[in-house]
Each structure stands twice: as C-alpha cells, then as structure tokens.
C-alpha cells in the first residue's frame, strides 16, 4: 500500500471516508424507512414509528446529505476537465510551450490544485454559490441542450481574483504602473483590466 493508504490524512482519502460514511448512513436510513413502510399504515403514526423516523428520516439522511455536499463540492472542483468541450483549453493549460497566463500559472505551480475552480470562482460564500449555479448550467448544456458553438465567459473576469494573490505583494509593488497615482485606482476598481498589459489568460480563439 502506498503512503496514501487507508488512514492517510490527504484530502482525497478523507473524502473517501466521508463518502463511505455517507453510503453506510444512507443505507441505514433507507432500511429504517423501508421497515416503517412495510408495517401497517396505522403503525406509522405511533410513538414508536415517530422515534424510528426521527433517526431514519431526520438524523441519518441529514448526515448523508451533509456528506454528499462535502464530497460533491470537493469533486466538482476538478470536474471542468471531465467534459470534452473544455479539452482545448485544458490542453493549452498543460502545454509546456503555452505562453498564456493560465499556462504559466499551471507550469509554475502557482496554483497547485483545482486551477479552473480557483480562478473562475469569486472568493467567499457568494462567489462559490455563483460557481455552483454556473456549474448547473454547464451540466444542462453538456447533457441536455447542447454546448454552444462559441464558448465565452458569461461575465467579465473579476479583477479581484488576480489581486487576491498578487495585489500588494512585494513583486507587484515593484512595478511602477501598479503604484502609479493615476493607474492604481483604475486597477483597484477594475476599470483597467489586468489583461490590458499582461498576456491573455487563455488563447484568444479556440486552440
């Protein structure tokens, strides 16, 4: 067994345990509810049934749903690369010769994991919720309505995502334009996009 064994503390392994617990709790809840449904209808509203359902309908499924959210939102972070639609962009990101910003970030391990998710979700709760709603529309396109011929970003890229890591760093402050009295406010408000001066984040056209 590798060092990523059954009891390693890696995130992937913890998720495996959470998923396993979710399955066990879900099956236990299902067993209780099926037993209740198999009894006579009158029994289902007795005190015994209500106590059984408190566990089988409230506590155990509640924990299963919670585990589902934890595991699901962890796995969905790297699901962008699962759809063939995104293959050209993913290939560009992983191409050692790529000169795009995403390529540089990937090659230099500036963002070690979940690269798509890290840049394409705003920070904080609202950002993640937006990403989840966006993800649902991606799933709808992929499985039901079809993928549009031309793929484009839904709303302008949030400059705060760049500034979250780069802003106020020593390297960032060394650049004259970043601290220029006229340009600084424009950069901070997003009036001046980072991509005006820096390389394109992705290939301008479908790679």
């Amino acid at each position: 067994m590798s060092h990523e064994g059954l009891f390693s503390g890696s995130t992937e392994n913890v998720m495996r345990w959470v998923a396993g617990a979710g399955i066990v709790l879900g099956l236990a809840a299902a067993a209780i509810m099926i037993l209740v449904l198999l009894r006579k209808p009158e029994w289902r509203v007795t005190a015994h049934a209500k106590w059984a359902l408190l566990v089988g309908l409230l506590v155990l499924p509640g924990m299963t749903m919670l585990s589902g959210n934890v595991v699901g939102f962890h796995k969905v972070k790297n699901s962008c690369t699962q759809c063939h639609t995104m293959d050209p962009w993913v290939q560009d990101m992983k191409d050692p010769k790529s000169t795009t910003l995403v390529g540089k970030h990937y090659q230099n391990r500036w963002i070690p994991d979940d690269q798509c998710y890290t840049c394409h979700t705003g920070y904080g709760l609202a950002g993640n919720v937006q990403a989840k709603i966006g993800g649902l529309s991606h799933v709808t396109h992929e499985y039901f309505t079809g993928v549009p011929e031309v793929i484009k970003i839904k709303r302008p890229f949030n400059h705060e995502t760049c500034l979250h890591c780069h802003g106020e760093s020593a390297k960032y402050l060394k650049i004259e334009q970043h601290v220029d009295a006229e340009m600084k406010p424009k950069i901070l408000t997003g009036e001046l996009s980072c991509f005006e001066c820096h390389a394109a984040p992705h290939p301008r056209k479908k790679p």
Partner: protein, 75 residues
C-alpha cells in the same frame, strides 16, 4: 395517567408520514448514487432532486408531528 386509548390518528397523518418516507428514500437514493458514481450529472441531480425531495420529506414529517401534537392538545 388515563387508561383511555390515544386518539386515532387521522388518515391524513398516515399519508403525510408515508409520503415523507418515500420522498426521503428518493433523496437518499440520489445521495448514495452520487457517492458511488461521482459524475457532474448525478451531483446536479443530487443537489436538485435529491435534496429537494429530502427537504420536502422533512417538511411533511414536521407537519405530521405538528398535527398530532395539536390533536393531543399539547400545542
């Protein structure tokens, strides 16, 4: 303590509890399926159908409890 039998539950409560069980089973089924096959589609179905039906099941169960408590004049 009174020896009188507890008041018979209305068929409405039985229906509510039965529906709650079925809906919660649907929710648990989607949840378990998404654990076993973690695809984006099953995750989306778990989020919408699974959690939606579980939420509805909880609501029905709480209504059933509330109705019984009112019937027994606890509330």
């Amino acid at each position: 303590m009174s020896d009188a039998p507890p008041p018979a539950s209305a068929p409405g409560s039985v229906r509510l509890v039965t529906s709650a069980c079925v809906l919660a089973l649907i929710g648990v089924a989607f949840s378990t399926a998404h654990f076993i096959w973690p695809t984006p589609l099953l995750f989306a179905l778990f989020m919408i159908v699974g959690q939606g039906s579980f939420g509805l099941a909880l609501l029905l169960y709480v209504i059933a409890i509330f109705r019984d408590l009112r019937k027994q004049k606890v509330l």
